[in-house]
């Protein structure tokens, strides 16, 4: 398969992620969109790594594992924050999170 397919798929996933982050108000969905963007990048890294094996080796694929590990850690922290948020204000709508400006 030509590389360009992977690129289009990755681009599409990333844009879905961005639009989701920008438009949705539910914190869990925003979280999922962030994960989608991360995975779009992962896909891109793997694809490029596969394209240029002699030059790049397996650096790209290794990098993907790192990202997945960090993302897993991040998810655990992020979900914990969301749970705490729900406990305090009984909602996961980010529009209620406007205390940052004070």
């Amino acid at each position: 398969m030509p590389i360009v397919y992977y690129l289009y798929l990755s681009l599409a996933l990333f844009c879905i992620g961005i639009v989701g982050v920008l438009t949705r108000r539910n914190a869990i969905i925003i979280f999922m969109c962030i994960e989608i963007m991360l995975n779009a990048v992962n896909l891109l890294l793997v694809a490029f790594s596969k394209m240029h094996p002699p030059k790049a080796g397996i650096d790209g694929q290794l990098f993907v594992f790192f990202i997945m590990v960090v993302a897993a850690a991040e998810v655990s922290v992020g979900l914990a924050i969301i749970v705490m948020m729900y406990r305090r204000i009984h909602s996961v709508d980010v529009n209620f999170l406007n205390r940052l400006k004070h």
Binding site: L22, V94, L97
Partner: protein, 631 residues
Amino acid sequence: MENVLQIVWLIPFLPLLGFLVNGLGRKYMPKAMVSIVGCGVILASFLMSIWVFIHVREGGGYVADYFNFIVVDKLKIPFALQVDELSSLFLMIITGVGFLIHVYSTAYMHEEKPEHFGRYFAYLNLFVFSMLLLVMGANYVIMFIGWEGVGLCSYLLIGYWFKNVAFNKAANKAFVMNRIGDLAFLIAIFWIIAKVGNANYADVIAFAKAGKFGASDITVITLLLFVGATGKSAQIPLYTWLPDAMAGPTPVSALIHAATMVTAGIYMIARSNALYSLSDLTMHVVTYVGLATAILAATIAVQQNDIKKVLAYSTVSQLGYMFMALGLGAYSAAVFHVMTHAFFKALLFLGSGSVIHAMSGEQDIRNMGGLGKKLKITSFTFLMGCIAIAGIPPFSGFFSKDAILLSAFEENKALYAVALLGALLTAFYMFRLFFITFTGKFRGTEDQAHHVHESPLSMTLPLIILAVLALAGGWVGIPEVFMKGGDKLSAFLSPVIPVKEGESPGHSTELALMAISTIAVLAVIAFSWFRFRGYQRKGEAQGLAKVLENKWYVDELYEKIIVKPLQQFGSFLNDVFERSVVDGLVNGVGRAVSYSSRQLRLLQSGQVGSYVLLMVLSMLLIFVLQFFLRK
């Protein structure tokens, strides 16, 4: 072995020491001690000056180099003092006459509080120090330090009674007028340094003698130096400060007019004579400015009623003569006149101080009269001064004035005629002053009449010494006609000032000129005797007399064409430019910052969504910019 003259730094240093002691200790020292310190240091300087003079006379000049004052790249300005024939002569005049004035001051100022008495002597010593530095400097930069110093001290001393607003204004006027001249002098120094590479007299003169100056350079430099001299030596157009400088105590006037300050310009031009001789244009300018000043000031002096103002204008007029002599190339005649003028003008000023002292501060001669009977010593010495300045042989003024008139005659007969007219005016106003003040009936109040008394010995003794000098001071420059080798002064000065070569008009002509001037002066004196011996106060002056009394309205003219427009320009800048442009700019910056920050504050909404949107948009912007800027 080191030259013994290396020690000449003591001459200016001693008055500086006196200044420090009197200035710092003025609150703790009694008057007697201030007087001893103040006069003592000047006396010591005077004795050293005599010693230096004798040395120079036997062994020629010497340049004492002490340390490098300014070193920048290739430019080196050493702090060096030069004693040669010219400066050693000036040293004697400054310290000698200065010492007499100091002694006189101890009595004249005795009513001042001890603190102010100390301040006065501190200024006086600083003044002498500056003037000594001015004449002893071995380059133009050191001269300029002294030059500024005398300007500062004249300001301090004219405004000595600083509680009087008018006196402060006079002090400001003197300072500002001097600054104008100083600026020109400074530019001239820069110009010289740019051309020659340093400012040492020896190098500059060698440079000039080698003909390395361009014709336009030399003209501009000499003209600028001359403008500097007009400020310090009170020539047209910067002379108006000198009469106003009468606001200071009378001995200060004597010091400014006779020993220091105003002779600085003459000294500077005489010192730069090698430069001036190269530029005909400048020489003509100097001659005619000097002549115009001499006549203008003499006409004003005829109608003044303040005893000190008459003398002040007389000084301006005599300085005009000196400049005329400089312009005619008769440098030694000018220096000669500086010397004799120092004697008789100091005498006249101190005499007028004695009169003012006796009259309890009265300066208007219309309220005096008949003082000759009560102030015997003062009136007699004053008469000697008048005769000397009028130029009657064998008094000193005759010889120096005659030398100047003779050089005018050699140059141009019309010039001579006008200069002679000025000399006659001099005789007229001086004897008018003398007759109105010392003869006739007393016209003051009863109180004053009761109070009139002769001054104490410390005031009359300087008068007597100066009177002797005013009589005999001219005998060092007796013209060849009377005595072979009589002109010792020119011969003495010849290493610095080359003796003028040229045909002498012949002895018979010279004698005839002297006879004419002497007879005319005597006639003028007789005329003023008949006119003023029974002087009575008259009403307002009319016509020409009124114009003269108001000094040709020159002050008013300056007020109109220079001071007023400048003030208006200043208030325009203050009211319009300052308010709208400068303030607008400053306030505008402040307002712009606070407005934009108020707008930017709205961005911080606290909404997570809007933050994310902004983040994405800015990242997009960065990508797009990078894409375009890469190319």
